[in-house]
Subunit: 289 residues, 2 copies
Amino acid sequence: MSRFAYVGGRYLRHRAATVSIDDRGFQFGDGAYEVMAVHRGFPVDQVLHLQRLYRSLAELQIAEPVDRRALPVILDRVLSLNRVCEGLLYLQVTRGAARRDHVFPKAATPMLLVTARRVPPVPPVVIRDGVAVISIPDQRWARCDIKSLNLLPNVLGKQQARAAGAFEAWQVDTEGMVTEGASTNAWIVTEDGALMTRPADHAILNGVTRQVILRQATEFGLRLVERPFSLGQAKSATEAFLTSTTSLVLPVTRIDEVPIGDGRPGPVAQGLRARLLLLLNEEIGRQSP
Amino acid sequence: MSRFAYVGGRYLRHRAATVSIDDRGFQFGDGAYEVMAVHRGFPVDQVLHLQRLYRSLAELQIAEPVDRRALPVILDRVLSLNRVCEGLLYLQVTRGAARRDHVFPKAATPMLLVTARRVPPVPPVVIRDGVAVISIPDQRWARCDIKSLNLLPNVLGKQQARAAGAFEAWQVDTEGMVTEGASTNAWIVTEDGALMTRPADHAILNGVTRQVILRQATEFGLRLVERPFSLGQAKSATEAFLTSTTSLVLPVTRIDEVPIGDGRPGPVAQGLRARLLLLLNEEIGRQSP
């Protein structure tokens, strides 16, 4: 089946879809993006994702590329053109094409790209066994709260993890505290039963799944502590897990080859994963006709 | 006159030249680049620029896109197609197009882009009066020695400078030391007559003009000190200046509205600029038939 992409106002065959060599996304990484999960044909947590996109654009002083009411219509159209029921929706906005110069161009039209694709579900073995994580120094810039296209350190971190046979790389700041994974947020459950994650400062992206869990955790009877934790704390935690739009909740059972807890996925990660799947179905259920 | 670009193996009209929406340069900033000055139709310091490009690619584990002997031929062809005598040559290499995933793709072909354009000479008034600089916190990642496409903090810094009526933003690290400008290296002449610039650690790009000056300075009778200097030292310096491929040497006469020295371009900056222009003509003279 052909895939289709929305590129700056037009729906094009994905394989033939291109952008100008002068697009500032291509030459400077001058733009922001979002990835949404698609479940039963609907984008999950669309409101939260679009809120964050608009925040990223405001921080970068990039104008919104289309009317706010038009954007969901475009997303829907890309989903249906690609017949995606379970998968991903990818949105990218750049400052547009202009003669190369660091300074913002006087007249450039922001460029919106939307693509979609099917994604198979996370294999059951991953949920059953959990994933391994390595630690690496956090080498990123000071504004990781902006979901920008400057993703080279994330690419290098993820590649390093994969080369080490791990799923993710947890980045550690100069104070020895874990910031987040290369594309996921990091969580631990401490010995005294607190659920701990770094506050959403400028050093991490405030993940949408992270935000949903923060709201759910107290209802779930968990004591929530938004505070940075060290790599040492993570390794001696009762449980560790990671969250993201595409992974939802994944138990972390090894960090730098050190088993976490008894080395098996723990009840908090498993419970939160189940809870989120339930919420997801409820949310989509409300949207379905 | 139409401009032409070399894009992944083909010479295309610049205006119509495009790249895949799946190019990793566009989605991750996953690539490196170089900008060379063109003088009398020849790329200046081509050997040094290509050396640095190959180093950036090696650091990012991106394969070289074309044979090393072929690259100068492509550069020459782009210059002649565009009839550029005085101007710029721009080279960009990305990891290529692949389905979006942070991890390096198994089979992607690195993409080479080459463009060229004419640039008018620096206006004499800029040389006569010098330029103003503002200081900003250095928010960039930990590997600024790689000339990568992750340029968002540089873009934001340059824009902030322009909005403040300045030419450049000097970035200051958490220890209060100047790293470099958003697209230029930073230099001062201290009260006791030393020429000071930051050593080429991971916090700065080792500029080609910087390298040429380091070799020239001693011959020029200057005492060279490669050591980080603070913003305070810069403001109380006898002279300050910046260097880059496109600016060569520009006197800095104000930092955050504080006049440097007597507020006029000093003899070291002016002397080095003259010296570099001489060298440039000698170098090109040797290449001309």
